[in-house]
Symmetry: C2
Subunit: 204 residues, 2 copies
Amino acid sequence: MKLYVDREYASPWAMAVFVGLREKGLGFDVEVLDLAAGDQRQAGFARQSLTQRVPTLVDGDFSLSESTAILEYLDDTQAGPDLLPREPRQRARARQLQAWLRSDLGALRAERSTEVVFYRPTDKPLTAAGQAAASKLIAAATQLLDGRDYLFGTWSVADVDLAVMLNRLILNGDPVPDALKQYAARQWQRPSVQAWVQLERPPL
Amino acid sequence: MKLYVDREYASPWAMAVFVGLREKGLGFDVEVLDLAAGDQRQAGFARQSLTQRVPTLVDGDFSLSESTAILEYLDDTQAGPDLLPREPRQRARARQLQAWLRSDLGALRAERSTEVVFYRPTDKPLTAAGQAAASKLIAAATQLLDGRDYLFGTWSVADVDLAVMLNRLILNGDPVPDALKQYAARQWQRPSVQAWVQLERPPL
Ligand SMILES: [Ca+2]
Ligand SMILES: [Ca+2]
Ligand SMILES: [Ca+2]
Ligand SMILES: [Ca+2]
């Protein structure tokens, strides 16, 4: 298999698929696209990704974009540990979290980009909108985790998504409750996550 | 079951779940929230929706937000026709389309809000960004449909999502190829879709 990602290895959604492939124990090649240079609009890639976005997985003659679709596809077609919980209500909760983190909290994602997580912190304070999104995230994460080590009893890829979102604040020194800091730090030590974190990145 | 939606019945994601419940033949009550008045932040609803968003489905003691998670939950737990294709690669493509329509084409969604679809057209021309998003949508829809009546051989809820997105342009009189106009018009006549379209809406 082949996985297309951004050349800065900063896309949290590319990271989720990279981690999922490693957790499944699958071999894959990583291909990087220079999104700032428009690589995703070049014909060779656009033929494989209808939506011209990363991550895109190529599995033989089948190529697929959108991280949530790719992760479900891996669970549906590949052996190895489940990436999402199997019990229907837990799986539903995991999907809810994935969808929410990809479509809400826009101010937080803009003001604490993943450059904060994978390159360096920023001095800029959060705006009121950014602070409101941070508060919503912290409240939801606290309620969902409810003191557990993982969102759903054992590890799932939703833990990676949540840890990255929390680390936008934590790794920047913004205030986050200790229990969530400890949760994110534990997630960060997972070997599949460290394999992404430790990738050699080009200067910005 | 109970489904929370916006009081204008203008959320395309609430519509997708409403249509899915009807296609499954499930009985449900509709509850409307006045999002402009902040109903979604009231304690009663916030307890049921961690993310304070519509649509939210309440199924006994279980409540769930995010339309894609709800639709998968219905397929996982309820009898009746499938809302998404069962074959893994087709299901993956349907999920890709759902995820893409919910997270890309922002300029088109902003400049051709669903008020255009459910209330009235607008005179404002598309900006360059809006036109680029429209062109990307038209190219993807043409390639995905490839002359077929449905995206995946038989109806799926992804056809509703795609028809709504196309109707942001079509019902406003913006240029769209005839084949896509005919596809959207066919989808629009489906009884589950008409049940949503014909709901009595409050003035804006
Ligand atoms: Ca390049
Ligand atoms: Ca507890
Ligand atoms: Ca009200
Ligand atoms: Ca053909």
